[in-house]
Symmetry: C2
Subunit: 520 residues, 2 copies
């Protein structure tokens, strides 16, 4: 290690090339098949493992480590991390980053600039314009088919879906009270509406906005997890009657657990009638717009006021890549501009392209490059194929559950990419089965049965983790822990779906014979 | 391009290796010396350039492009982007990403997981614990020298400094009103205090919090840009007299323009007396804690309640790497937890390490890896050397200005890394000079002189940009556009400092002979 300045990359070539080789190998030849999804270890075990190389903690007077030990530590990082591109990582609403996105991300990191001003990010500023223009056309916000590079595109990039939701709700509040950014809340008891299956970012945002989580009215959903529009109408009337002031509705396009899509057209009708801002949380489901077979799920989105869309979810960008689309982009600067004179000088070149004064954040990573590059490399069709593949794999899982002789019982089967189900031990398979509509009526279960079924997912998941054979999430649905199989990884194949179901059944059978785990 | 799923990286090997080669070349052999800092182009020129490869806009029915055209476009991305690691990029409070940070970032992107839960990010969760524990010890928040890996470390990572400020102010408000996150604002007319030289994130955050930018009281600064503690005391008294409710003070450790450090000990005294939350915006200057010669600037930080610290500024991490330190970390979950049951199941393994319910964001990029890797590779001493080098280069600039025979006049010379000055045309050099304290008294200038001096920085900067010889910022200080030379790039050498000053003088002399530009 050379510690004299200036830092010269050539002095660090061994470590740099060593890390690049390892990252490249992981990218071109990722774990798959019989490779473990995760080599699961407890915090103590990981600390002991890294103690053999450079150690995880950073001590007082931390010293430089020799290259070979550093590279051994890098091998450990790869070995003990989650392999999200493994076909059997179905744990979350992201998976399987597109390798082109990964290298686009690498190039952005090597260039290391920020997205706030044209002067330090000319190419990336225009890429944002290009991508936001295209996303705006897909969402029906821009009423032309011709591609352009507007100085004021219909939205901004931001750091994740929760941030997008926060900014959208501030835009909605700004519409209700145009001087909010200057004088603060006028004291109205603001309320907003989101389905009971909507993302918790609504409550978290309301807390930060000073509205409070109690200002988020959770509207009833049907048994698929879709907001019931009539219930929304009733909730608005009820809120006004109670002296509260409705200002926004969040429609969800792809809920977190069941991937349900609210009827955006019906919500838009209500918002027009009630003069409310309609924000669409399309973090998960927005990418359905690419698929001719699936785009109908977002019908009505063109009538909304804002959309937040995570391209790092279904579209496979690396963490993170989030677009907040805004139908009237002049609202952005009106709501967020601070006119910092050290950045947004009125007398500099091409300042009208600067995005920094149209959003909350100052410096931003140039997340657009990876998306633009992947788009130029693969085209619209590849994005559509990614969505269609995900739905096909979910169909495979639904068929597997239907033909499992009672080993699995549907909780919310859905018709998109998420399949939510319970595992049933053999002794209960006769007693527990789907009722009308093909889903289990959890409320009708005997408490002893519910309690027993509820206990299996954490125990089965722990066994899958420890064996590294699969990574699948669970959460309570109607009071019963249910597995959530999310089929968005492009590496997921029919055999993997079948194998995952078999592994869950097998771990379940083992768990019925074993005492409950006491922790690891 | 293969468009059949599953995406198999081996099908894309040409484009993947092509991008990796280009990014690696840029990393190992970056532009320097006579290479341009930027090949400056207008939006129209860039659009025309890219039209020769794959085009910037994304059309209707966008198609896949062949590899050779894509790689030609990647070459254009590099050629036309800002080269922030070039020694003569002194435009901003970031520059020169450490190459080890860059490859750490690459590895994180290849592994593509999120930082919210231990189960999907076991290694990165423990790295966050290690780094936050060490940063907490540096800031005096953790009162021991022994390194640990606590399940509840003293802070969280977040997406940028503005986000950190927002979260800190919400924590401060939560202390004032513990039910804020649930019931919303109780109607108190909250005010917070920050120096007039503080970052605009305070106003932007107040707007989003529903307090409003008017709730941010800007406290007077001395001529170096440091908050005057007595003025803070007076402002608090005045605010209470007016019926407002003070709840927080932001002390700045390294202001955006002059890199001034508020007297944190004096501010802590006032905050204790007045029962206010003290947040320290150490986004820029926090890294001075690494330097034995500079750490005194943050004396008193250990008495604050929270600190936001951008490791992507002075420490050279890639965009972005931000730590929000919180002295009492139990406040985080109390303020931000939403207890989403699909992520933070009480019955899963090692859930007590999950950071996701201690912050606002859900998914987060694993920004910690690059910092941990760089730290293990270089040690504390290299970080200290980076800071000391920056201050030495700023000293070089101050000497250059002092010996410029009046070509440059100090506006705020400072004694840290930022040097703020004006360029003076020969005909005015006799009339314009520093008065008492070695700085120009802008207010005492003739309006015609002020107006003429004010006009030069944008014209000089445009010439530097168009020639690619240097990239330096300017902003009004006391009504006069002044250059801001930020000496934090580790590649910046004495010759570069001298050459930058010569280039500014030369462009200034050219500008006096030419009409004002009409735009590009």
């Amino acid at each position: 290690m050379h510690r004299d300045l200036p830092i010269d990359p050539i002095d660090d070539e061994t470590i740099l090339r060593g890390v690049i080789d390892r990252a490249t190998t992981h990218l071109l030849d990722p774990p798959r098949g019989a490779d473990p999804v995760i080599a699961y270890a407890s915090p103590d075990e990981l600390a002991a493992t890294f103690a053999g190389t450079v150690g995880l903690p950073i001590g007082a007077d931390a010293r430089a480590n020799p290259d070979e030990r550093l590279l051994a530590a890098v091998d450990q990082v790869v070995e003990w991390s989650m392999h999200t591109s493994h076909p059997r990582f179905v744990n979350q609403n992201f998976a399987g980053a597109d390798p082109i996105s990964v290298v686009g991300d690498w190039l952005g990191a090597a260039l290391n600039t920020t997205g706030a001003t044209y002067e330090v990010a000319p190419v990336f500023t225009l890429m944002e314009s290009a991508v936001l223009d295209k996303l705006g056309r897909l969402a029906g916000y821009v009423d032309r088919s011709e591609a352009r590079l507007p100085a004021l595109p219909p939205g901004v990039f931001c750091a994740g879906g929760s941030m997008g939701t926060l900014l959208a709700l501030q835009l909605a509040r700004h519409r209700h009270q145009p001087d909010i950014a200057t004088v603060g809340s006028n004291g109205d008891r603001l309320v907003l509406f989101v389905s009971a299956s909507g993302h918790y970012a609504a409550r978290k945002s309301a807390a930060v906005l000073g509205i409070g989580a109690d200002g988020v009215v959770e509207v009833a959903t049907d048994r698929h997890g879709r907001m019931v529009p009539e219930a929304l109408g009733d909730a608005i009337v009820e809120a006004r009657r109670a002296g509260n002031v409705p200002f926004a509705v969040i429609g969800t396009a792809g809920t977190t657990v069941t991937a349900a899509f609210d009827d955006l057209g019906a919500l838009a009708d209500i918002c027009r009638r009630e003069d409310l801002w309609l924000h669409v949380d399309a973090c998960y489901g927005g990418s359905a717009l690419f698929s001719a077979a699936q785009a109908w799920r977002l019908d009505g989105v063109e009538r909304s006021d804002s959309v937040v869309w995570n391209l790092h979810k279904m579209l496979g960008m690396t963490q993170q890549c989030t677009a907040l689309l805004v139908k009237d982009p002049t609202r952005l600067a009106a709501c967020f501009a601070a006119r910092a004179d050290y950045l947004f000088q009125p007398d500099k070149l091409n300042g009208e392209y600067d995005s920094g004064d149209r959003t909350f954040m100052c410096a931003r990573r140039t997340d657009v490059l990876k998306l633009w590059l992947t788009w130029k490399a693969r085209g619209d069709d590849a994005f559509a194929a990614r969505i269609d593949h995900a739905v096909a794999m979910a169909e495979r899982a639904r068929r597997g559950i239907a033909t499992s002789d009672g080993a699995f019982v549907p909780i919310v089967l859905g018709d998109f990419t998420n399949v939510v189900f319970a595992w049933v031990p053999p002794k209960l398979r006769a007693a527990v089965s789907a009722t009308g509509g093909g889903q289990l009526d959890v409320a009708a279960l005997d408490e002893s049965v519910r309690s027993e079924l509820h206990g299996y997912p954490p125990r089965i998941k722990a066994r899958l983790q420890e064996a590294g054979t699969g990574m699948i999430g669970f959460q309570p649905v109607g009071g019963l822990n249910a597995f959530r199989l999310i089929c968005i990884s492009p590496t997921l194949q029919p055999d993997d779906v079948d194998a995952l179901l078999r592994a869950i059944d097998s771990c379940g059978l083992d768990a019925t014979d074993a005492p409950a785990p006491t922790g690891h």
